[in-house]
């Protein structure tokens, strides 16, 4: 077997791992195995646990339990991360059980679900974890046989010696557990992969399809009570007073607790808690800032018109390029706020005693949340445990531990195990929204070349951060500038799936489409030509690869039948890099009843080595449809601080009949894998908008498209 040497100094192993992320020190113990036919050993005291932690557990019969370190929100890491360990451990995938690890900062790093980074950061360390364990098993077998480890080989959980003798892992795990962690281990050549690159069905599939308890909402503890919380109905309001007489009269309501500007109704079942909350009578006081979306629209326009910007990147001289240009094209793009709308509403379990705080539930950022709870309750972090459940979606909402703070505060006051449950109305109106944003993009053209590019962002609170301005077309246009300005609002905003680029990609890629058309330039060739200029760049801030982006562009042209589509099919093109992944998408739009309908999206992705193809395709299909859906329908607004939508009767999410066919293609290479939870989403809106233009002759510059199209047709009627 071809093996690549990977040198790991034992002393530096933890250090290296803590930099690389993922999870580390491997270890064996027999304590846990998921199935009853796997028997724990008789005398576990014989084992030396001092140097080991239980990230890989191997039972006597050779069955393996692998703990998945990062939170699972539907992005598939609970399947994909253990696949990487199992590959290097060299065991059959059907001998592996997977369990979700709890928050354990001593042994894991970056236990976060966010930014499509779990696989990218975990790749090396997960491989080394598996390979290290494999080597220790080999060493143990070699010692037993009195041969050199190098004379032994492994396959499917079986070690074979030079004389043909063999032992399965379970037979030597006790000896292996006593051994020193080796200084260096070898990794498989990707051509040797047996698990990576093959479809592995979601490890929780049986529980999901039979309705077993899996999610935060399903978690129960003996004696647990339920909490439903009344919060200020408008951003900017505070609680003046409340009357809980009617709430307390509800069957099952135990008590009513005020904390800050919120009131929690505690009951012995969920319905009583919700009903009790509805019976609360509260008086609210308006603050000084009661903001409306119509005001935001003007404020953001004013920011773009003004001169008070922070410059995030500047190349050449944009003013000179614009002054000398034959033509300057400028467009403005507008997006609304967006709620996350995870299907599982926010919820969390909490229990506070004198000694400890126990928290269980769906959270994308357990470590940061624990720190927050420690500060809130003024307790040491060591006294707080957080266990993660499977999550009914994340999309960025569960990066924020606001709901965990709430349950910690309630549990501290009532001193009973308690489950906080948001209703859908709570979830949609107490959000951490994708901020409303406006982009103004201007480009200068001289002698048929793009000489300057100026991107200005105006966002509520904060949006773009300093990596984004180095994405394409940075490096391709000599005079280039990115400016940002913010308006500080009391409406809470934060990351939403593919933060920053989820709207920027639409704005820039729609702009390019229009710019190229005005220039009389081909949208494909012009992109390829611009990327050609980035090749060999010495700018270390440019992290995208012009070669890889060119490659997905060419593949998307081929796979989508670009330029050869049937009569009545209108195609829109986008190529985009974000979250370390290169993507090109082509949307096919047809007109039905005078309305553009998205029929198909062809998506070509370069995410390096494909760990789990079925999971990857699922992420791409979901990301594209999510991107199309929110671009078409996603809307959110505020009137004097009050959210304009509360539930799915008025808030429109894409449904089955509106979902386009998604055809995904993956570039085959041996490059280290990158993440897929987000990168398929941002290009979708632009691809649709560019196709809609071809179908209707109308340029879309604001989301949701359904509203923009309605306004355009109204204008036409008014004429």
């Amino acid at each position: 077997m071809t093996r690549i040497s990977s040198t790991i100094d034992r002393r530096s192993f933890l250090k290296v791992s803590s930099l690389a992320g993922g999870g580390m020190l491997i270890g064996f113990n027999f304590l846990t195995a998921c199935k009853s036919d796997v028997q724990p050993p008789v005398n576990i005291a014989d084992l030396n646990f001092n140097d080991f932690n239980a990230f890989i557990q191997i039972a006597d019969n050779g069955m393996v339990t692998i703990f998945s370190p990062n939170p699972e929100i539907g992005q598939g890491v609970k399947t994909a991360m253990p696949m990487i360990i199992a590959e290097e451990l060299d065991v059959p995938w059907d001998h592996v059980f997977v369990k979700q690890a709890g928050l354990d900062t001593d042994n894991f790093t970056r236990q976060v679900a966010g930014g499509s980074q779990s696989i990218r950061f975990g790749w090396d360390s997960l491989r080394e974890t598996g390979a290290t364990a494999r080597q220790m098993l080999v060493n143990a077998a070699a010692a037993r046989w009195g041969v050199k480890p190098a004379e032994c080989s492994t396959s499917e959980g079986v070690i074979t010696g030079p004389g043909g003798e063999s032992l399965h892992y379970g037979e030597v795990v006790r000896e292996a557990a006593q051994l020193e962690v080796p200084d260096n281990v070898s990794l498989k050549d990707p051509s040797e992969f047996k698990i990576i690159g093959n479809d592995a069905i979601n490890v929780d599939i049986d529980e999901i399809i039979t309705g077993k308890p899996l999610f935060g909402l399903d978690y129960k503890k003996e004696g647990m009570v339920y909490a439903s919380v009344l919060r200020p109905p408008s951003f900017g309001q505070t609680l003046d007073s409340f009357d809980d007489t009617a709430a307390k009269a509800v069957n099952g309501v135990q008590e009513v607790v005020r904390f800050g500007d919120k009131v929690a109704v505690i009951a012995n079942n969920t319905w009583a808690a919700i009903k009790g909350k509805r019976m609360l009578k509260a008086e609210w006081k308006d603050g000084e800032k009661m903001e409306s979306s119509s005001d935001h629209d003007q404020l953001l326009s004013d920011l773009l018109d003004g001169s008070d910007f922070e410059t995030l990147r500047e190349d050449g001289d944009i003013s000179k390029a614009f002054a000398e240009a034959d033509q300057v094209i400028e467009r403005t793009y507008t997006s609304p706020f967006l709620p996350h709308n995870c299907m599982e509403p926010m919820n969390f379990f909490g229990e506070v005693t004198d000694d400890k705080v126990t928290l269980v539930g769906p959270i994308q950022t357990p470590e940061g949340t624990r720190s927050g709870v420690a500060k809130l309750l003024e307790r040491p972090e060591e006294s707080i445990t957080i266990d993660m459940t499977r999550m009914g979606g994340g999309f960025g909402r569960r990066l924020y531990g606001d709901f965990v703070m709430e349950v910690a505060e309630i549990a501290d006051k009532i001193r009973k195990p308690v489950k906080l449950i948001y209703t859908r109305e709570d979830d949609m109106t107490a959000g951490i929204y994708r901020p409303a944003i406006k982009y103004r993009i201007a480009a200068s053209v001289k002698d048929g070349e793009i000489t300057g590019y100026h991107l200005k962002e105006a966002a509520i609170n904060r949006n773009m951060y300093n990596l984004i301005p180095n994405f394409f077309p940075a490096g391709a246009i000599a005079n280039y500038k990115v400016d940002v300005a913010n308006y500080q609002s009391n409406i809470s905003t934060g990351a939403w799936r593919a933060p920053y680029t989820n709207f920027l990609a639409f704005a820039e890629q729609s702009f390019f489409d229009e710019l190229f058309e005005i220039m009389g330039a081909d949208p494909i060739q012009t992109r390829l030509d611009l990327l050609e200029k980035v090749k060999g760049t010495t700018d270390e801030k440019i992290e995208y690869s012009p070669e890889r982006l060119q490659n997905v562009i060419r593949m998307a042209v081929e796979k989508s039948g670009w330029g050869t589509q049937k009569e009545g099919v209108h195609q829109g093109f986008v190529a985009y890099y974000c979250h370390n992944t290169h993507v090109a998408e082509v949307a096919d739009v047809v007109m039905e009843n005078d309305m553009p309908v998205v029929k198909k999206v062809t998506c070509v992705v370069d995410c390096g080595i494909l760990v789990n193809p079925t999971g990857a395709r699922n992420q791409v299909e979901g990301g594209v449809i999510d991107g199309v859906g929110h671009a078409m329908y996603g809307d959110f607004s505020f009137d004097k601080g009050r959210p304009g939508y509360k539930n799915f009767d008025t808030y429109r999410l894409i449904r089955m009949k509106e979902a386009p066919e998604v055809v995904s293609h993956f570039v085959k290479n041996d490059l280290s894998p990158t993440g897929l939870g987000e990168p398929a989403l941002p290009p979708a809106g632009g691809a649709v908008a560019n196709a809609v233009y071809k179908a209707t002759g109308k340029r879309l510059t604001s989301q949701p498209f359904i509203e923009a199209l309605r306004q355009q047709s109204e204008k036409e009627i008014k004429g």
Binding site: I73, G74, G76, D199, I201, N202, D204, I205, D206, I208, I209, T210, G211, K212, P213, L214, F215, L217, D218, K220, Y226, N251, G252, N269, T270, W271, A272, I274, C342, M343, E344, R390, M391, G392, G393, G394, F395, I421, T423, R424, T614, G615, N618, E621, G622, G623, V624, I625, D626, G629, N647, F648, D649, L653, I654, R655, M656, K657, A659, E661
Partner: protein, 151 residues
């Protein structure tokens, strides 16, 4: 508090609850059948779908007093070993992402196939349109329903 007689997955339970309690919360909190999910509370998302006398209904707006002594089936009772053709197809096609809405999707799909063993794609989409999937696994759901119909 009044007592109601409920027939859930072939077993009769006596449950104490207020008359206006949605059956969803009785199933989840009192009977420990948490496979039926809460999504919206107003019958707009389908996460709480159960079968009532074989028909797919939204348990979040049906009160306990409306379903007394009628046949209720939840995801836990759809099959003994998780091998209902719809469940098998869901597994073979690796449909779920987060998985939260999938019990509701499976209950809607299985009720559809009970009354129409060979639905067209349009009929599948019509029947499933009320079930939201925020991860947008819609295309795999259509394929899984077709696969189950053909099995």
């Amino acid at each position: 508090m009044p007592t109601y007689s409920l027939k859930v997955n072939g077993t009769t339970h006596q449950v104490e609850a207020d008359a206006d309690t949605p059956i969803l919360w009785v199933l989840r909190d009192q009977l420990d059948l948490v496979g039926t999910k809460f999504g919206c509370g107003i019958a707009q998302c389908g996460a709480c779908t159960i079968h009532l006398n074989g028909e797919a209904v939204r348990s979040c707006i049906l009160t306990i007093s409306q379903v007394t002594d009628q046949e209720i089936t939840t995801i836990e009772g759809l099959s003994e070993k998780g091998d209902h053709p719809v469940q098998v197809a869901w597994k073979e096609l690796d449909v779920p992402q987060c998985g939260y809405c999938q019990a509701g999707q499976i209950m809607t799909a299985s009720a559809l196939l009970d009354r129409n063993q060979n639905p067209s794609e349009a009929e599948i989409k019509q029947a499933m349109h009320g079930n939201l999937c925020r991860c947008a696994t819609y295309n795999r759901i259509v394929k899984a329903v077709q696969k189950a119909a053909n099995s």
